[in-house]
Symmetry: D2
Amino acid sequence: MLIRLGYDIQFEIPAAVAMVAILHVHPSRVEDLREPDNLIIDPAAKTASYIDSYGNRCTRFQASAGLLRLNCSALIEDSGAPDAVDLNAREHPVNDLPHETLRYLLNSRYCEVDRLSNIAVELFGKVSPGWNRVQAICDWVHSKVAFGYHHARSSKTALDVFTERAGVCRDFQHLAITFCRALNIPARYATGYLGDIGIPPVSAPMDFSAWFEVYLENRWWTCDARHNHPRIGRVLMATGRDASDVAITTSFGIANLKHFTVVTEEEFPAAKTGAGS
Amino acid sequence: MLIRLGYDIQFEIPAAVAMVAILHVHPSRVEDLREPDNLIIDPAAKTASYIDSYGNRCTRFQASAGLLRLNCSALIEDSGAPDAVDLNAREHPVNDLPHETLRYLLNSRYCEVDRLSNIAVELFGKVSPGWNRVQAICDWVHSKVAFGYHHARSSKTALDVFTERAGVCRDFQHLAITFCRALNIPARYATGYLGDIGIPPVSAPMDFSAWFEVYLENRWWTCDARHNHPRIGRVLMATGRDASDVAITTSFGIANLKHFTVVTEEEFPAAKTGAGS
Amino acid sequence: MLIRLGYDIQFEIPAAVAMVAILHVHPSRVEDLREPDNLIIDPAAKTASYIDSYGNRCTRFQASAGLLRLNCSALIEDSGAPDAVDLNAREHPVNDLPHETLRYLLNSRYCEVDRLSNIAVELFGKVSPGWNRVQAICDWVHSKVAFGYHHARSSKTALDVFTERAGVCRDFQHLAITFCRALNIPARYATGYLGDIGIPPVSAPMDFSAWFEVYLENRWWTCDARHNHPRIGRVLMATGRDASDVAITTSFGIANLKHFTVVTEEEFPAAKTGAGS
Amino acid sequence: MLIRLGYDIQFEIPAAVAMVAILHVHPSRVEDLREPDNLIIDPAAKTASYIDSYGNRCTRFQASAGLLRLNCSALIEDSGAPDAVDLNAREHPVNDLPHETLRYLLNSRYCEVDRLSNIAVELFGKVSPGWNRVQAICDWVHSKVAFGYHHARSSKTALDVFTERAGVCRDFQHLAITFCRALNIPARYATGYLGDIGIPPVSAPMDFSAWFEVYLENRWWTCDARHNHPRIGRVLMATGRDASDVAITTSFGIANLKHFTVVTEEEFPAAKTGAGS
């Protein structure tokens, strides 16, 4: 399956400001690109690229005052398979976890493991461990939290989601991540492209999406407490402890968002040829 | 100058539990050790050692049920010089900062940059940048926050410190770190040994100490909003975003602290020889 | 001046639920009514009326399942004078305040005097007391907080407003009230009708409005940190410690708001006659 | 049964400050006093007394700079009966509750009904209503929250208690009150004398105590999520929405507590006579 990826993001910049963008497909997916995902910055800016401590590819640059446009159109090949499921995937005892997964057991800005620990144990402590427990967490969050764009706010934490029971993608994942960590299951935040491939078309404007990953049975698995069923065509951009680590763009000063569109669509080669003939 | 370092930490462990300890001197100080800082675990446990994503040396092991004792006695050579000061050290524009410092500008569990950003700008936005601004932040925190062990609580954040104006070492640093980050100065949490070398003896029992580091003029500098004057004989153990990242010990289950002593004292070779003869 | 007041509020009620409405003009304004402000409940419900501990007139009833409509049209005579101003109004020493004002110095749900006390003293402790200090508080809140309906959320407290710097009417007042109380100036929340009388027409749909009152120089004065200039034609409905005490409607179970309009307009008797002839 | 009541509270007052004290037995118990509960203020101050909006007797005065001592010794007659229990006491539908109980269903400073509402319904929504449900709430709080004086902090709310699971008397009651209100059971905070009458002597220094009251079956009932069993010899001082309303002393400026003792002991007339002969 081929998926067309892209975005057009525009900011009004009142004064020159440093920016960091995590607007690339994740290094683990680079080999699948059939058209490169070049980030086009307009007006052009000198960029530097680096891999952050979580393994994400980042681009940094100085944005000039005025209108800033970031855009991209890329094509990626995807297996077309839905998110992997293994009902038998087991939790690792903490002492057997790989070193690099341990940080995904700790507190982070939006995931207050310390404050939700007792609650997690009460809700899920007696559920059989492994895949089943992660699923129970996703089911709980999915059924208890109401989705709505008007519930979004940048400072909302997992505890806020637990008390308010409303939020957007990222909020669902933050709460599920926090519950997993409290139960000693490594969990990390993921962000990327997720169109409505394989499901009925959705009327809402496309956006990037958030999901999360848990470490069970020697690997990371994709989970999604917002949608709560396997999906086709996710294209990972970045992972981190929580939304703080993987903001699509971070501006170190004022940048007013003016326009935002994202494209994530299956592309059919025949149709494309037809259109061009 | 030679400094005797050590600790004796004891836990009552009700059921076997995985632990991670950051109970070593920082890799940057290993070459100064004159006696190694071996962590002795009693009863003995199989350990694994690794360097975490912040560059700290960590030891992990499974603690058995019963009494657990962690202890160490080491000797380190120290310059005896007080914390470096450079009144002319400049802030870097964000776009000129090294990649690896950028994460120390972001939110973390105990440092809610998003919530304290406006306040930081109001308090320090007009202070001349560089060393002077960091000093203004330390002065403010030092003068506004009251120290007291009874003010400690594990979930206290920088915003709590800002409103409650009371805390322990870590709380002073969390607030100062958050202010620095809000002003685009990379700041990270540091923990280590700090005895009363070079100051009048302190009657309180010794403990590990927390301070912080800021990145100015191409390097990291030691700052301390709790004590707020240059000190002699700090021995760094670990740095991270905040206290979440560098807990001396993290137990992934119940471990009840029963005993805790820390030693950080200047050792005089002659006196030692004399005592032994 | 005659002001036409009214509202049409509709709820979908899934199951019978008890409600309390504070949908009357305040007892202090009843004598100004030229047409009574009868609350019409459809379908009709048996009501009970009482004066709460803050002096507000409340109506309670059991709402049946189905569509519930609350509406009213009333006419009130108003002086047409703007909010009173007395630049010389003095603060009372706490010990001289009337007993009944003391509760307006304390903490309440949305006004955490305890957490904002140090901040208030730092910002306004050196401002000359009395009217001038209250004005300084209103100026600060007015200039620092951004208005926007999308910033509304029911659990937002004064501390949240202080850190987020964004909100709706009630948020501006909660922060100003909290600062006043921290400085020992009694301050209470007020809600009522406020149309765009005496100002250029506003395009936003009309709503009830929130303002606040402070006790200076032997009386309560109207203040408004949201608009921050004297207004004409306020019609008070209720006062209390904060928005918790004076919700327009409180339902003790689920009631989904379906429709909400408020009318607050100057009515010109001649024009009215003319329209009818 | 006769109970000796009293206290000796001393403050260091740096500058004259207004104070309000709720240091009297509740008006409902005045007729039981055998020796009056005069508040002796040293140095003497001119006092004013009033009944606040919750029905508590308050004394206000201006404390001079220097040492302030508040003390009292009184004797009260008590039935000696334990707290009343009625396993059949029913909840009232909200619409049948007396007007004056409705405010005890709402949010208050330390009882965030809005934030704990979903949680309360999940935990107790299916428990049979009435006495049994209130008991289930007390059992839950009693078993889940750890008591410890070092867990006290003045800004701790019910939500904090729910997440931290540790606190003092007042914290237990705040959480239980919030749960009750969320389930539409009026609940109010109570403070007063509670010695160790009828139980084995307690080694901790005596203090005032906090409990709470719920409205069931046409009356208020005493509940205590901290001790969670009927006690003998409570002497009520004040009730209110939460601890904000019924602080034993409120100073509107700095007053440093220097000494604090409370007496609550059964007094045996014969023994007393004997001692005097």
